[in-house]
Symmetry: C2
Subunit: 344 residues, 2 copies
């Protein structure tokens, strides 16, 4: 059977209506709602075909139809009309420039949740892409060093290193010079074991102690793969009855709290990107079990210099895809603008 133009129109009407109301859509509704001027009986026949083709389904006999995952997919891929979305309160947020990445991201998540009424998450840009700008070891205690590492975009990492032997001031100074001259300009991801081995060799005479410190520095640079994620609006899931029953809600909230799975999700969505950097997962398309009744829209953002992070929006399958995608586009460009603003 072929999906002709009329069937498409009817499918689209069913989906649009269902997105709005959340109620199964009947033939009579469609007959009036569209400009097709067809009787409900005709629509019924068409809808039976659409069901057979797998685009819509009946929750039970004698109910209207709701879109299936396949139906949503078709809609998202070919029938949706994106439009830029005004993002409320975004300007304010941008006015007070955030020097702290953390604050900025938390705010983005919050604004997004308020605008869309869905649950949102945002992953901090991986620092491994950022170039090293400055590194410094300072003595804090007899056996403790503080390593401060500053990357492009002023991403700061601290680490307390425990060292067995005491270092002289001179050694420390030399180490600092060595580290800065050798590592400056490299991205954090580039500082690997080979690099460190080379550094150790450079350090030469100081041998053990320096080696120990360098190892610790290397570890603290690469270590922090924990991938921070900020979430907001989790309680929005209660707005959608299809997600709000105890079991599902509990699972979802847990996923949002644990953040482990979210991390993987956002990670995945970054790798296989399309040209636009926006991706939609409908129902079981995402790997997260507890979100099998949800749709997830993710967007990759960039703060310049390879600092890429991902934003995710989680809602019911009948989420307002147009609005969400539109909003995400706006945010993407706002963040981009913000970065360029930073540079000038």
């Amino acid at each position: 059977m072929e999906l002709d133009e009329r069937k498409k129109k009817i499918l689209q009407a069913v989906i649009r209506n269902y997105l709005e109301t959340g109620e199964p859509v009947g033939s009579r509704t469609i007959s009036k709602y569209t400009d097709l001027n067809l009787s409900s009986a005709t629509i019924r026949n068409e809808m039976a075909d659409l069901e057979e083709m797998g685009y819509i389904l009946q929750p039970h006999t004698s109910a209207g139809r709701i879109p299936s995952d396949k139906g949503y997919r078709l809609y998202v891929d070919t029938m949706m009309e994106e439009k830029e979305r005004k993002v409320v309160e975004m300007e304010e947020m941008l006015l007070e420039r955030q020097d702290k990445m953390e604050t900025l991201l938390k705010q983005v998540a919050k604004v997004l949740a308020q605008n869309t009424q869905y649950a949102t998450m945002i992953s901090a840009p991986q620092s491994r892409g950022a170039k090293l700008k400055f590194i410094q070891l300072s003595r804090v205690d007899a056996h403790q060093l503080l390593a401060v590492i500053v990357g492009e975009g002023n991403v700061i990492k601290n680490n307390i290193l425990n060292v067995e032997e005491e270092l002289t001031d001179e050694t420390l100074l030399k180490l600092n010079i060595l580290l800065n001259t050798q590592l400056n300009g490299l991205t954090i991801g580039e500082i690997n074991l080979a690099m460190i081995a080379y550094l150790k060799q450079q350090a030469g005479i100081h041998g053990d102690i320096v080696g120990e410190v360098l190892d610790a520095v290397a570890e603290s640079i690469r270590d922090e793969e924990d991938l921070e994620i900020y979430t907001s609006g989790t309680n929005n899931i209660f707005r959608y009855p299809e997600l709000a029953d105890h079991h599902k809600a509990s699972e979802l909230i847990n996923a949002f709290e644990e953040k482990q799975l979210l991390g993987e999700l956002l990670q995945d969505s970054r790798s296989d990107k399309e040209n636009t950097g926006i991706q939609v997962y409908i129902g079981e398309e995402s790997s997260v079990q507890s979100m099998r009744d949800c749709s997830i829209v993710t967007a990759t953002y960039e703060l310049g210099g390879g600092m890429k992070g991902t934003i995710g929006i989680v809602g019911p399958k009948r989420m307002d895809y147009e609005k969400v995608v539109g909003t995400l586009r706006t945010i993407q460009s706002q963040l981009d603008e913000m970065y360029r603003g930073d540079k000038e």
Copy 2:
């Protein structure tokens, strides 16, 4: 009417039973459950008295009794038998010593949630109580300085300072020496405006630029009053039907996400402390509206040197107070031990 020994026993029995089952407790149950050897009829009379006195109440005629807030209060104050609680997985956690405060606190929250099956929160110790150990300004960029401030217990703060004029290496070095000699040993809370004014005076000749930097340093030291809070086990609230309906759950989850109110709550509970540092808020006793159907148990912990934080556990009013208080005590002493372990 007097609350004699027998009435107390009955009240205790009612509460104990209700804590377990969550169902209103009838006279027949008590008659069998206790060793009082009284018939249900006698118990009924006594229960009528207890109700008149306000310790228990009937959800509706012909139902059993449930404890009132006043009843719970009496129970918590005089009838509860605390016992130390083994905290599962706590040892493991302590074995891998955490140098990062953040990780430690997150873990404590998690372990606590798993052990108690309630929602938990923990506030990071206020850094204002910590003594300054080390402070350093470094040039990151032509117009950007990085201030690193290390307090006792290796609490680290970073801040990027923007400066108008460029500083010479010499000035920077002098500033560092000045800051370290003058501020070392003071608590972060003690570094106030007067102190800074004095420093400015000391700096003397350098005038403006130094003043600017000092102001920025002062700000970054005292600024961070945001009071970080980590939560865990929010979804545990779904275990308790009396909290799990959409409206209440949504409000609660929101409170846990916003963290604003939690902060005030934990803050309050620290100020008016009893000798033990553990406090119980039953129902409306806490100021947080969305938690009027909950009980909250808070405990103050100390990591030495005035570094005090607060732990909170939120559950239904019929929470297992004995277990919760016991568990908190255990955690308190474990954290204490941990700090002492750090010192030796």
